[in-house]
Structure formats: C-alpha cells, structure tokens
Amino acid sequence: MADERFEPKIIAFLCNWCSYRAADLAGTARIKYKPNIRMLRVMCSGRVDPSFVLKAFALGADGVMIAGCHPGECHYLEQNYKTMRRFSMLKHTLQALGMEEDRFRLQWASAAEGTLLAGAINEMIEQVRELGPLDWSKNWSENGKIEEAIEQLVDEHAEAMEVPV
C-alpha cells in the first residue's frame, strides 16, 4: 500500500473582518496548516446562505467551515448571532440527511487568532479525513438518479419561488 491517504477538500467561508484577517495573521506569523482547505471571503458570516454550503457539498467538498467574529464582536454588531442560528438549523438538517456532524463546522476566530484558526482547520481536516470521502455528487451519479434528482430539485425550487397571486 503506497501512500494513499485520503485528502479531503474543505471549503471555508470567512468573514472579511475577523476570520479572513485571522487567516492573514496565520500567514504573516507563518503558522503552518494543511492545504486541504480552500477559503472564500464574505463580508460577514451572516452572508452565508445555507445554499452556499449545500452547493459546496454538492460540488464535491468533504467538509464546510463557516468562520466569523466571536459573538459580541461582530463588525456588523450582531449578524454572527444570525449565522449561529442558521448554522444549527442547517446542521440539524444535514444530520437528518445522514451527514456526519464533523463535516460542517462553525468556528469563531478574531483577527488576533491566527493560531486558533490554523489549529481549528487542522483539526477539522483530520476529523474529515477520518470520516472518508463524502462524494455526495458521485453517489448520486453512481446510482443513476442524478437527472431525476436535479429535475426534482429544480421543480421544488420553482414551486417555492412561485408567488401566489
């Protein structure tokens, strides 16, 4: 067996004010973490629409992290509390769908906490590595129901979007 360790792909949404700056700081301080994480900047963790998370999983991410300012330190005063509520609802839903808890993580990291963020990233990567690939997309492809699934999603979405006159 050669080195065939599973390398998970994790998508992270970082708020512009605290967590993205924590990532900047981790860089400036040369704190090493594993390269399995790919980060996106949003202005506030409150911008993270649950559909972003679902999209990342659907495209093949093995884990998703949302990082924001600590409660009480939000640049937009209190929007991370909304993130917190959305996170628990979505996490609940994902768990109901059979997704393991460790694949979806909310991490508070202030602009001063580069070390903490790097530590959290490493921890999550190892946890997800332990769980193995999620392969939402492939699983769908393999059981041949992908077309059906997409159609169903589109129908449901269109239905939800209809505004009763």
Binding site: R21, K32, G46, V48, D49, K55, A61, L77, I150
Partner: protein, 675 residues
C-alpha cells in the same frame, strides 16, 4: 460575449515563489482555464512596473477582467483596483487570490502549495467573470470631529484639530480632563514636572474657540457612517450651573463632608462631596457627588448653596442629552491599572506599607495628600529602605501576558525620587529591564550610578514575618536572585508594586458603541499593527494612546497627533468614497414578508406600506449581506457578493473535484436570479 480574463501571479520576491511554482500556475491558468487570454507571472506585481503590466494588457489585449494572485486583498486590493481604473477598467472587475497569506506562508509541501494555488486562481477566475461594474458613492465629510477621552492623547488630538481651524468636541467621563498624566509628579526620563507641562495644554483646551469641552459626559449612542456620524452624548448632572459658576471654590471649602478620593488621589487622599479632582482642573466647575453629598443622603445641609456667591448650585439638575453631528471620531479612552489584591502574596491591602505605583505617584506629588513627602502609611515616618517590585500583573499569564511597557522606566523614576527626597536605599526587583527608546537606557545608567540596587528575579512573597535578626518590624522581600541563583530575603520599610496597565473594564462595550473591535486582552484593534496603527476597521473611527495598548506619554502624544493628521486628511479632501458593496431589494420579487426588516442592525431596511414591499436605504446599508442570505424569495441581491459570484467561486475552488466528475458541476443551478 465571453469575458477576456487576465491572470497575474506575483512572486512577491521569494515569499510566494519560494513555495509555489508560480510559472507553472500561470502557465496552467493560461492553458486550462476558460476565457483566460493573458496569464503572466512577475517578481513584484504591486510595483509600478507590475501595475503597468496590467494596465498595458488591459489596453492592448482588451482585457475585461483581472485576477491577481498575490498577497491578501486587505493589503493590495486597492492597488490593483487603481491599476484597473488607470487603464479605464472599472476597478470592481478585479479579484485577488491570497496566494501568500493563504498558501505559500502556511503550507509545508511545495507540490501541494502549487495545487492549492491553482484552485484559488480557478475560483477567482470563475468569480471575476460574473463581477459587475460598481461605482463608489461619494459622501461629504463633516469637518466637525469628536474626541473621546481627555487624557494626554485625547488632548493632543483635540488641540491639533482645533489649531488647524476645525471644530472639535472633546468628551471626558471624569469631571476634569488631564487623565493619568495629571496624577503624576514627574515624567521620565527628563524629570519634568508632569503638571507643569500638561496644564498649559489643558488650559488651551478650555480657552480654544474651536473646542467644545463636554466633561463629566459620556457617549450614549453612535449612528451614521464615515463623514456623517450622529452622536448622542449624555451630560451627567453636575448640580452646578456652568454658566453661573466662577470656579471660586468657596463651595468646596464650605462642604462639611470629606470622602476618600479613590480616583484622582488613588485612595490615599480625601476630597469633598462637592469637588474638583485637582486645583488646575479643566473645566474649573466643581461637581457634586450625589452618592456622598449629605443633602442627597439626608435632605439637609446645602452648605454649598448657601455660600455660593453666584447661586450656581442646582440640586435639581438632571442629566441632559446633546446630539451632535461629526465627520470623524477619535477614541483616546486610556487604560486602567491592575488590581494588586489579585496577588495576595504581595500583601497589598493587608500590609499597610505596600503601595501601588499610582498611590506612590500621588505620594511624591507636591500637590498630593502629603505635599510630596514620601512617608509610610502612618503619614509621618520616612522610609529608610524601599523595594520596587516590577511586573505586578504584567508578563504573567495568570493575569496579563503583555509587558506594560512603562513600568521599568516608572520604577527608575521612583527610585530617583526616593533617593533624592529621602536618601533611602532603593531595591528594584525586575524580570528584565526594558528601558527602550530615546534617553531611557541613559536614565537606567544614571540610576545605577545613583546607587539604586537591581536584583533580577520575580518576588515570591512580601511578608512581615521576621525570621532573622534585623527583619523585625520590616517588610521582607523573599526572592530568588536569578543572576546568582540564590534565595534572598531583603528587609525594607516600604514596598511599591509596579502595577500592570490594563484595558478599561468597559472597553468592549465602548468598542461596540463605536463599532470597533478589541483584541483578546481588550485593547482596541488597529487597522494594521505596523502600517496603520491609529485607524480602525471602521472608517472614520480612529484610536490613539493607551486604549490601543500600553504606551508612555511620548508615544501617546505621537499617536494623538497621528490620529489628528488622519482626520485632517479626510477633512481637507472634503469627501469620502463609500464602497458600493450594499444590498438591493428587487421590488418585483419582494413579497413584503418583512423577514429582512428585523435582521438589519443598522435599520437600513424600511417597509413601504403603500407598495407592500421593503426597500433598503443604501446610505445606511453596511453590506454585511445577512438580509441577502435570509430572503426566502431571493429578492435581495448583494453587490460584489452575489449568489452567482459565490457559487462560481466555490465551483472554481473545487475545479479538480468537479473535473473528476466529468468536468461539469453535477447540480445545475436553477435559473439565476437577475441581479
């Protein structure tokens, strides 16, 4: 028509190129990524030559989108946006990938760093193609400024602004401005009289036609945004009518109630129930402390009222509110000192002759309770030996990890004053001597020549239990002298604890009021620790002095002046550009459910009863995007962070995974919402 994307990978010297194969990334982007027509790598993209490279390509190759893989956008996004602008491209059609902070500096393996860089460039290329042209809005800057905190930093800022001809409001919580500096006797290393150099500046503040001083007042609420803040200030009831008071001080003389002054006299002196913290107080008007005033306690007395020659006492006065409009705000709220009772083995509060540094400042101040005589707690005995313990609450992970920066020099100053005034033996117990900055080391040398004793070691205990002859009636310092590796017991008459500088206990709440953040320890966070130390993440809010971290007087004054310079820059420009990153509600999709209304902490979303839809006031919107994510009808779009842009970025970031699935995303988006 397909966009024409230019990709630029920066070497950043060896900062990126040392870990990432930049040529490979740039070559790959040019070959593999759709719509990339130019892909280059360059030694320093942020240099003028690097910027010219982009500008020339925009003009010659007809590029419509730019991706720069370099440092964090927080560092150089503005640089590259400007380059686009110079070449006639809308600056918001540029996207950065943080290859330095997020890849080369944090990744061990070179191959993996290169792979991650490709993913990030792919994300940026996908995203940038959906960018839209945006125009920053320009708003005028109100030339009025607000300075919060009247210590030396705040005074400096106020005077700089006022002297430049601009109106300033100075708000101070205490009855007088002056801050900690007014409490000190001498300043190091020059041994200037602190009050003598501070008092002229204080009186300048009180006399300056451009300064409105609001003492005994606090900021209640801040709304608005850079250039246009609205501030509500609570002016606490002084119970003295300022317009009528002449500051003669008869009321203070006649007040029968003396109380311990915990604030200005640090608990070692008295003041009256109606008082001015100190004779040179600015403003000169006294205040009645309603907690201790006999009239407020028992309903009789009114001695002050009877003797006031101008009828300026008003027991019925209530707190008033003042609303002001300012363009910029500078916070100079200062520091507090560590409570030495938290280290019981040093005996503060239990052993009479253990003093804090602030108490000692008042003790040797000629205007202090002992008229500057250095005496023990009994008020008469002059000490024959004094111990100064450094780092009390500083450099101690149980309390504060930081070095308080000023204590070494203060300790040397105390040593000098004790030797000069009493001839006593002075022992300093230090962790490390840190007399940094101009003339400080020389002062340390001077004290060594004056005969101050220095012992390197953290004191274990201060005790009054005598074990050896000669220790009776003394305070004994138990310490390991780490330079000779031996335990020592040093009997002394007086102990001074060099207490740590700490953030104000309410710094977090104050930060929240002004929309700025604090470090874990509680100091206000600057925009950049090296290059932007007085600005904050919130435009139009600046910080100066020890509220940003421990600082001595020259450093506080420099920051105060620096903050003023930044504000003056804004005022002289007259207008400020506001990022067009705001949310917009599309009326035709809005169902009027009003979910978004309550989500906005800035009250930027209004519901229009007549049209039954919500609408966003773009001047108030700060662009967080929480409402965008919450709208169940996707009727709200967030500029520069639209769903489509973020979806595209995710897809790009996961390009390798997506390609593993046949090169296409497996779930097609439902029809995109018009932006």
């Amino acid at each position: 028509m397909a966009e024409r994307v230019g990709v630029y990978i920066c070497h950043c010297g060896s900062n990126i190129a040392g870990k990432v194969d930049v040529e490979e990334v740039s070559h790959w982007a040019g070959e593999e990524l759709d719509n990339v027509v130019v892909s280059r790598d360059y030694k320093f993209m942020c240099s003028s030559l690097g910027q010219e490279l982009i500008e020339d390509d925009i003009k010659n190759e007809g590029l419509t989108r730019i991706v720069v893989g370099a440092c964090s956008p927080h560092l150089h996004e503005k640089t590259f946006r400007r380059a686009c602008s110079n070449a006639g491209l809308n600056p918001y059609l540029c996207q950065m990938a943080s290859l330095r902070e997020q890849v080369s500096w944090v990744t061990e393996d070179e191959a993996l760093a290169t792979a991650k860089s490709k993913a990030m460039i792919s994300g940026a290329v996908e995203r940038v193609q959906l960018h839209e042209e945006l125009e920053p809005t320009e708003v005028p800057v109100n030339p009025h400024s607000l300075v919060v905190g009247g210590g030396i930093a705040g005074i400096q800022t106020t005077l700089e602004l006022a002297n430049s001809g601009n109106p300033v409001f100075l708000v101070e919580r205490e009855p007088s401005i002056g801050g900690h500096m007014a409490q000190f006797d001498k300043t190091f290393p020059t041994l200037d009289c602190s009050a003598c150099i501070l008092a002229p500046n204080m009186s300048d503040v009180s006399n300056h036609p451009n300064i409105t001083l609001l003492s005994y007042s606090e900021v209640e609420e801040v709304t608005g945004f850079v250039g246009n803040f609205h501030v509500r200030i609570r002016k606490n009831a002084r119970h003295v009518i300022e317009e009528d008071c002449t500051g003669c001080g008869i009321c203070i003389e006649k007040c029968p109630k003396s109380v311990i002054d915990d604030v200005f006299e640090a608990g070692i002196g008295y003041r009256k129930a109606i008082y001015r913290p100190f004779p040179q107080a600015v403003p000169k008007y006294p205040v009645i402390d309603t907690e201790t005033c006999i009239y407020f306690e028992k309903g009789t007395c009114k001695a002050c009222e009877k003797f006031c020659p101008t009828n300026a006492i008003d027991f019925e006065q209530k707190d008033t509110f003042i609303d002001i409009d300012v363009g910029n705000i500078i916070l100079a709220t200062g520091y507090d000192t560590f409570d030495s009772r938290k280290i019981p083995q040093y005996g503060y509060g239990r052993l009479a002759n253990v003093f804090t540094s602030l108490e000692f400042e008042r003790l040797c101040n000629a205007a202090g309770p002992t008229d500057g005589k250095i005496v023990l707690r009994d008020g008469v005995t002059t000490p024959k030996s004094v111990a100064i313990i450094h780092c009390v609450g500083s450099r101690d992970t149980r309390f504060n990890a930081h070095c308080s920066a000023v204590c070494c020099m203060s300790a040397l100053k105390f040593g000098h004053l004790v030797i000069e005034k009493t001839g006593a033996e002075v022992h300093s117990f230090y962790t490390d001597m840190r007399p940094a900055f101009k003339d400080y080391e020389e002062f340390y040398n001077r004290l060594q020549e004056e005969g101050m004793h220095f012992t390197r070691g953290r004191v274990a205990e201060v005790t009054d239990v005598a074990l050896q002859p000669g220790e009776e009636g003394k305070l004994i310092i138990q310490v390991e002298d780490t330079l000779i590796g031996r335990q020592r017991r040093v009997p002394v008459d007086m102990v001074i604890l060099m207490t740590a500088l700490e953030p104000k206990p309410d710094a977090r709440e104050v930060g929240l009021t002004f929309g700025i953040s604090c470090s874990m320890a509680g100091w206000f966070t600057e925009r950049h620790p090296k290059l932007d130390p007085v600005a904050t993440m919130t435009d139009g809010i600046f910080i100066a002095g020890a509220c940003q971290g421990p600082k001595d007087i020259p450093a506080s004054v420099s920051q105060g002046a620096a903050a003023a310079a930044r504000v003056l820059g804004m005022i002289s420009k007259g207008a400020v550009e506001i990022e067009p990153i705001v949310a917009t509600i599309h009326e035709e999709r809005c169902s009027g459910c009003r979910i978004c209304n309550t989500l906005c902490p800035f009250n930027a979303i209004d519901y229009m009863e007549d049209k039954m839809v919500s609408v966003i006031n773009q001047a108030l919107c700060k662009g967080c995007g929480t409402c965008v994510a919450a709208c169940p009808a996707q009727a709200i779009s967030g500029a520069h962070f639209s769903n489509e842009q973020i979806f595209a970025e995710i897809e790009g970031l996961l390009f390798d995974v997506v390609q593993g699935n046949g090169g296409k995303p497996v779930v097609e988006e439902p029809e995109a919402v018009p932006a």
